[in-house]
Amino acid sequence: MKLFRDSILGMILFIMIPLAGWSQSMPARALDNVTIHTAEGKTIETGTIVWRNGIIEAIGSDVSIPFDAYVIDGGDSLYVYPGFIDGLALWASPDLPAKYSKPEAPGNPGYERAGIQPHRQPNKLLAKADSFKKARKHGFTTAALGLKGQMLPGQIDLFFVNGKDTGAYLIREGIGLSASFEQAPGSFGNGAYPATLMGVMARFRQLWYDAAALREQSAYYASVSSGYPVPARDEVLEALYPAMDKEQPLFFKADTKEHISRLFRLKDELDFNVVLVSGKEGFQQAEELRKRNIPVLASVDFPEEPGWRVKEREGEDEAEVTEEMRRFRERQLQAYQARITNIQRLIEAGVKVGYASNGMKIEDLKKHIQILMDEGGLSENQILAMLTQHTADILGIGDKTGDLKQGHVASFTVFTRPFTEAEAQALYSVSGGKLSEFEITTSEKEDKAE
């Protein structure tokens, strides 16, 4: 293994060349003798992938490698998966202030203090470059990056997860607007309007009304030569226009059955497109989501398994279980199982389900994938499709990326073992054609230290 890694040192140097410097004459690269898993669920044994200029030129078990290609030989021991796509990630966002001061006029705190910042662009604000490397190590090659915030935290930009200078790897900006029912930060005494759920609902409406009026004034202003008041520029309201035109969906975070109902209500009233983000209790609205053709970028941030169940499984002694306690446990287990089978039930109902970390620590992904496999009712192929093609489809890039196909963007990860196995580690990551290599660690501790 070490030997062939050394053999590509030259290539590692080569990839330092920025994307802009590439041209039609770029040599191809190839990954040979690997087990390829596609998002469609096909497995290609002893397969080969050839890519050039960031695009897959050929893929299959019987592929001839171009003479000019740099070749990595997988030695039949590596597993290749389409690059995972994070449908809404916050891991590169600047953190929220630790403390919010009491606003001077809590009833009219201004957009920013209220959590209304739809004009903010992640590509201008991204903070944590090292998080990109971490994401690659966990198999992610593409991510829709959003910003931390409250009811309207900002735009969502789509990135390749492949470089320190992230701005250069922007695929598309403004693919959606982040939204949630979260009130302005702070509590009684130092909070601000909207400080309640009902305030947030009202504020959404008022923003739409204000934006509509401003837009109309701008249109009238443009239509006459003189004698009409100049509309005041308002970057916040103007940032809502694409959502009002349904050109930009709201990536709306909602988890409970009730919140999803409230989202339907708001959508019906204000008429915008929606991608449901997180949707932890989405199964309770599965039929309605399907009918309305609302896709879900699902959370896999599952609750902790009930402690008593863990103890029971491990055979630990405990005090007598009363009848009342038994009934409680039964209900608690049902609640737990409902949460971990949420995605399965959404899929069964015909809802398109992709994946969004949306604040979940990336290190927790593997643990939760294991739960999905063991008790969540999903197969490895279903999980893979959710993490790749289905997320790509929801983000509107499914025809370009999401699977390993000729003509698709060369974004994939090479793992030492099938990605669902606990010991699996990423050895190479190719994102938008750009290759990164990782050290293989031998223990959890080392992994964390890195």
């Binding site: 400080a195 009902m198 009202a202 009238y220 004698g227 009409y228 409230r262 009930p306 209900r331 049902q334």
Partner: protein, 468 residues
Amino acid sequence: MRIIVALMYALLGTFLSGHAQEKGSVLIKHGTVLTITNGEMENTDVLIERGIITEIGQGLVAPDGVETVDATGKYVMPGIIDAHSHIAGVHINEWTHPVTAEVTMEESVNPNDINIYWALAGGVTTINLMHGSANVIGGRNETLKLRYGAGLEELPFEGAPQTIKFALGENPTRVHGQGFGVQPRTRMGVEQVIREHFDAALDYKRRREAYLKAKKEYDNRPKGIPPLPVARNLRLEVLADIIDGKILVHCHSYRADEILMLMRVFEDYGIEGYTFQHANEAFKVAPELRKNGAHTSVFSDWWAYKFEVYYSTAYNASILNANGITNSINSDSGELIRHLNHEAAKTVHYGGTSVEEALKMITINPAIQLGIDNRVGSVEEGKHGDVAIWSGHPLSVYSMCEKTFIDGKKYFDRERDDDDMRLKIDPEADYEEPARRWYEREKYEDSCLQGAIVRFGEEGMSIQQGSY
């Protein structure tokens, strides 16, 4: 005839609600029926079909498939209506601005709150889920039927008029004047906040209508200068609706002077059909309340929990009632709501109010105040099948509510009252959690202070030393 009545109401209900609420049918036999509007009827049967009371009489026979409940020796009364409640709320108070009419408790309903079930166990079927009292003009309230387990969409009382919370006195002046240095700092300021906002609403309505008219004309025939848009404004729109009589005001108040003040303001703007909530000094201005057609909704015997409510009397409800004011007894509490029958009974005990009048204070009177008295609040043919069966007379402390029906469907049955009636379990909650009660956790909050020093400073009241 009764089938026609039932069909008519069922049809009407469908038109009004837009979605189908689950209705039930039941025949309750041989009970003593406290009709509220037609006296007490012994050994009487009540038939509810598809959610509507279709017949009251003797010897009624259950139609095919309709369950019969034997109420021999028991009392049947309309479901209790609580005109002031904060159970089943996600958030209660959008406290950030002195006027927040644009928010509505309809969008702050928690259908899974166990307090709903506990209220049903006290024979309550309808509540006025109120916004809090930090604002002079708070959010709109939501009238709910306690259809526990039916979900968010099924709780609102279909067709009930909108009501809105106002608040006078210490709460809005403390939160806004004292807390944020904005109007209102005084009771005078409270009045001005109301007047200024009403005037702004009238102005807005005029400007908005003028703009819409001009826009229509311009868009049809674009000549001259286009109109300047007047954005739709939810807050002012709701305030204009209050002035237009489309929304009923329920005003948190204590002192007689502020009650008089609001009646003067409302007279100026032509607002009618309002209710003073708490109104501990209302007895002092009972004739004035009567003259203005104002209602009151009070505690039976609760006061002295802050300065402005230092002065009150357990005779308040009885005095108001004797003066011909439509008065209700409310809970404002997840605990009191479970025994509003006792609270009503206190008016008999203290003020010598008749049993019939006392019962009205938790049934038809709050229904009048919420604008739903043509549908609930009494056992009458054509009204909703919202009834409760009690083991004895509901004003007796020995009686218990045994079964509670809403729209003829049973939502509480003491015989099937399991230990854990929560609708939703947090998978990470611990076993002990449901046994805890909020009023136990906070039981020291309203206790008597001994040997304390209370200081009033820039930041409000602080308590030093002393013990509970």
